[in-house]
Amino acid sequence: MINLKINNIDVSLPENSTILDGAKKLGIKIPTLCHLDLCDLKVVNQVASCRVCMVHIDGYRTLMPACATKVRDGMVIQTNTSEAIAARRTVVELLLSDHPTDCLICEKNTNCDLQTLAAVLGIRGKLKYEGKKSTYPIDKSSTSIYRNPDKCIVCRRCETMCSDVQTCNVLSGVNRGFDTVIQPAFEMDLNTTPCTFCGQCIAVCPTSALTEINNVDEVWSVINDKSKHVVVQTAPAVRFALGEEFGMPVGTEVTGKMVNLLNKLGFDKVFDTDFAADLTIMEEANELIKRVTDNKNLPLLTSCCPSWVNFIEHNFSDLLYMPSSCKSPHQMFGAIAKTYYAEKENIDPKDIVVVSVMPCVAKKYESSREELSHNELKDVDYVITTRELASMCREAGLPFTDLEDMEFDNPLGESSGAGTIFGSTGGVMEAALRTSYEWLTKKSLDKVDFNNIRGLDGIREATIDIDGLELKVAIAHGLGNARTLLNMIKNKEAEYHAIEIMACPGGCIGGGGQPYHGGNPDVISKRRDAVYNADKNKTRRKSHENPSIKKLYDEYLGDVGGKKAHELLHTTFKSSKK
């Protein structure tokens, strides 16, 4: 242990701890800005570039950044000398002097780390230093990510996510000196880069330099269009995070309130993507069993994450035979809503509008993919994120926390616990295993918890004994881990039957459309615990036991993996090397 003093208080810390860790232990809050440490996910942004957390250390020539300075025996640290306070405040003032001051109408108003910091440090009235401001073109070239580099404070968090975690290397520092900004190389538009639209840059951006392309207005106007029958579906991960937007404790499941909210907002029907997740498992498990039985095109890679699909299309075009041909759950939902449901309710599919509430910004892009349509009708018309739904709730003046619980509508609202766990890394694989096991063995699976594939390690693998068949599975979350895994497969260093890949660290619960976690390391773990709790409390926990799913095949689709199912529920991939 290392012994030192912070603000005259003795503290002992393990080796390699930082001064910031020490201060935290003592309950001393040192403000930070660029710093990011999502412990469970092993994501750290420690570039020490913002210089907000500067502290005084006896004997040091300059102030030192608390976030990156490792503690040493006998260190004597003062966090609030007048020099440190002046430095901290001046640094934030300097950032503000090169930042638009349109807080009132900013996308991140009341949700901005820089704004909070300015308030905390008591920066009021006129800025001490003013001068030239940087201006760059806004990039709204993609359907997912809105980039306003004027708001960039060069904290490099997005770069850490994009380059170190996701290994996409789209966002990095360009230009130098005052003109330095985080952009794609040559300041290209995002849609011309290998960006997968995972939105992890948005998830960590402290300001509004990176936000989602906002579709709230379109959704309001379609809700109010009386000629349209608007159905909404909510992804599994949304309900485990939406409450955070309204000050509820992290990890609170708010399914019932969310359904009530969607009803109150005026959607004609409130359905559940969990239902479609069960449907996905039917098709995907069937595909897995076929590939394993034929011993062909292995491993099967899951394909429900659009960002991951982008990634493999951009980077591993020679492996495009591996992903499951299943559409992602919300796309399957859209196809079913505009066919089966339309027929059942006797509504012209042209009048049905499908809105998806997703934890994800890549889903916005996905819904615009041409092949994800049927009879020239897009499967999904609009995608809004968890955050956008929360903003609609606030705009409508609805008291979210006080809303009574309500149930999803039927027939597309019923789901099993297997559908629910799609929200967490490992969930799709676990759901697929529950069904595949029973289909392969024709036996009932009593212990449905596959604890050996749960967790937050970047790459996890397990061998599942299915009545003598040794099914080798792997799970990766975060595209950097995906890349490692794919390279291992390419180089024949590892062999698997099935692999689940989710682009976002933690899976969809950590998606780029979720409430900002503000660098709080516990958020992902708590959301994940809520997912598995919800699964545990479900009466049915296997997708193929979902009565509404059974009914859908009986009444409309016919065989699992059959002709109709293929027409509506499967898709193709194309190489788009960038």
Binding site: Q46, V47, A48, S49, C50, R51, V52, M54, T62, L63, P65, A68, K70, E83, A86, A87, T90, V91, L94, L95, S97, D98, K128, Y129, E130, G131, K132, I153, V154, S172, G173, N175, R176, G177, F178, D179, T180
Partner: protein, 597 residues
């Protein structure tokens, strides 16, 4: 010198002289000698830089040390005929400071050279950098042989430590300690780097050494490799130094061919490879972690230290990084002994330092002086003082990281610690002299403009802070500032110094702080009186004719590019201030000092 030659001509092949045709002068000398059948008697050697760059192209004729300067190609035939054949040096072409009472003295007896002590520059202007044999004749690779074949790595490091050599790149960190730290970090792979990313405006000692004595760097880096246990080295040199790059590369090739580099060097069993990496000329890449990132192919920006390169440097391996001038001292230290080296200089700064003299000084160029020489000696004796009868005002050391020192500090003994104690620094050895026609606010603005431009943009204080400092100086120099701004300026300087990530930002405010300390009245004059005392800041100047002095010669009016001056012949003229663009031509043209600004 090979005795079979009657004359040995040393022609400077440094960048400055090369750009004024020294290569053609060399070939013309060779042709002329051949034509006159004396080519067997005359050896023409292309050397490195002699230091007095403003006098280039320079040719020294030995024996005798005759110093021909500012030669043109057309002068060559007469030198061949009159001097080399006739035995009569041509006085008109010889540097006039070597002509004393009708006698010509050798160049090294002039004050410029006599006061110098060349250790790092020992071979520059002496040997042909393209000939390894000449290097070897001048004790080259002797130190390497001694080290590899008779010393242990620890003994080698002990010599460097005992010599007291401190890094010449700016920081002044004890070189031996750096070597020891790197050695003590165990790793199967380590690297030796040479920082040749010389970036201070006006400084060019590293370029000169690479151009004039590349083998000394190869030898020193190999010794360093042996000492710390590295088998691979890189020289990071800016692409703007094409001659240095070419000569270093040929020297590396020859060293490999002759067994001074590569496998089993000097039959010692030690292997060491050396490669050049080109930099794109970013000033910040002189910072060691930024340089390392640049070699790795990453964005050239510094990262937080620790870990220091000695622990985790290039590709996360223990890495020793020294600059060119530091390495250039190494072979001599081994040849002449640590004690000898430590006997030169001051208590805490041993040896010599190379300075690039520039600005308002008679002899601009490169000099090497023992640590402890005073600024006055450097400027007024070696440098020849201030030209055009003007008055000394300040000396700026340390480039954009340094400060401006006033006349009262001229007797300061130059070393690492003394310069730091008065708010400047040694830096890599830039020394710019200013006279009373220099405005100190303008000088501070010049250096800040440089750092604003060269900041990598990574940390806030440097990225935004230096820009705000620059803007405040702009306001002062254009008369828009109020006196309270000086406190704001100073406060921001202190934050940028205390909070920036690397040395670039931490020292960027020095030019402002030192001028505020020593020349505060000039700032006040700009702010309160709205006047630039030195007559430099255009926004604060008003050109007016002094009626009493003007004789109406019309010269000013004829030369004014915007017809802002009116007046009849023999009558005092008038300047229309609305039209005047403050170009200063009228002041330069007026022979009667009749125009003020």
């Amino acid at each position: 010198m090979n005795n079979s030659f009657k004359y040995n001509l040393l022609v400077c092949g440094g960048t400055g002289c090369t750009s004024s045709d020294s290569e053609i002068i060399i070939s013309t000398f060779k042709e002329e000698c051949k034509e006159n059948n004396i080519d067997k008697e005359v050896k023409v050697t292309r050397t490195g830089c002699f230091g007095l760059c403003e006098l280039g192209p320079i040719v020294i004729v030995n024996p005798g040390g005759y110093f021909y300067c500012r030669l043109e190609v057309k002068d060559v035939p007469s030198i061949v005929k009159e001097h080399l054949i006739g035995g009569n040096p041509i006085k008109d072409l010889i540097y006039k400071e070597t002509i004393q009472d009708d006698k010509i003295i050798a160049f090294d007896e002039t004050p410029f050279y006599a006061k110098q002590n060349k250790i790092a520059l020992r071979n520059c202007g002496v040997i042909d950098p393209g000939e390894i044999d000449e290097y070897i004749e001048h004790d080259g690779y002797k130190a390497l042989d001694t080290v590899l074949n008779s010393m242990t790595p620890d003994e080698t490091i002990a010599v460097v430590k005992d010599s007291g050599l401190r890094g010449r790149g700016g920081g002044g960190f004890p070189a031996g300690l750096k070597w020891e730290f790197t050695k003590n970090n165990e790793s199967s792979q380590k690297y030796v780097l040479c920082n040749a990313d010389e970036g201070d405006p006006g400084a060019f000692m590293d370029r000169s050494i690479l151009e004039g004595d590349p083998h000394s760097i190869i030898e020193a880096m190999t010794i360093a490799g042996y000492a710390i246990g590295a088998s691979k080295g890189f020289v990071y040199v800016r692409a703007e130094y094409p001659i240095a790059v070419t000569r270093l590369q040929s020297a590396i090739d020859v060293a490999v061919e002759t067994g001074m580099l590569g496998n089993n060097i000097l039959k010692s069993g030690f292997n060491f490879e050396l490669e050049i990496r080109l930099g794109a000329g970013a000033f910040v890449c002189g910072e060691e972690t930024a340089l390392i990132h640049s070699i790795e192919g990453e964005r050239g920006e510094p990262s937080y230290k620790p870990p220091y390169p000695a622990e985790s440097g290039l590709w996360n391996k223990p890495t020793l990084i020294n600059n060119v001038e530091t390495y250039a001292n190494i072979p001599v230290i081994f040849n002449k002994g640590a004690k000898w080296f430590a006997s030169i200089g001051t208590e805490k700064s041993k040896g010599t330092k190379v300075f690039a003299l520039g600005g308002k000084i008679k002899h601009t160029g490169l000099i090497e002086i023992p640590m402890g020489t005073t600024l006055r000696e450097v400027i007024f004796e070696i440098g020849g003082g201030i030209p055009n009868g003007r008055k000394f005002k300040a000396a700026q050391t340390g480039g954009p990281s340094g400060g401006c020192l006033p006349e009262s500090l001229l007797d300061i003994k130059i070393d690492f610690d003394s310069l730091t104690s008065v708010g400047s620094m040694m830096g890599s050895g830039g020394l710019i002299v200013m006279d009373d026609s220099n405005c100190m606010v303008d000088i501070a603005k010049f250096f800040l403009e440089f750092t604003v431009d060269e900041s990598c943009g990574k940390c806030t204080p440097c990225r935004v802070g230096t820009m705000r400092l620059y803007e405040m100086l702009q306001n002062i120099s254009s008369g828009k500032a109020v006196i309270e701004d000086l406190d704001k300026l100073e406060a921001l300087c202190h934050v940028v110094k205390s909070s920036s990530l690397c040395g670039l930002g931490q020292t960027a405010p020095n030019p402002i702080l030192s001028t505020l300390q020593y020349f505060r009245d000039e700032y006040v004059a700009h702010i309160v009186d709205k006047k630039c005392p030195a007559g430099v800041c255009a926004d604060l100047l008003t050109y007016t004719v002094i009626e009493d002095k003007c004789i109406g010669c019309t010269l000013c009016a004829k030369n004014c590019p915007v017809d802002a001056i009116e007046g009849s012949v023999k009558k005092p003229h008038i300047i229309d201030v609305d039209k005047c663009i403050k170009c200063g031509i009228c002041v330069d043209k007026c022979k009667f000092d009749a125009i003020t600004r």
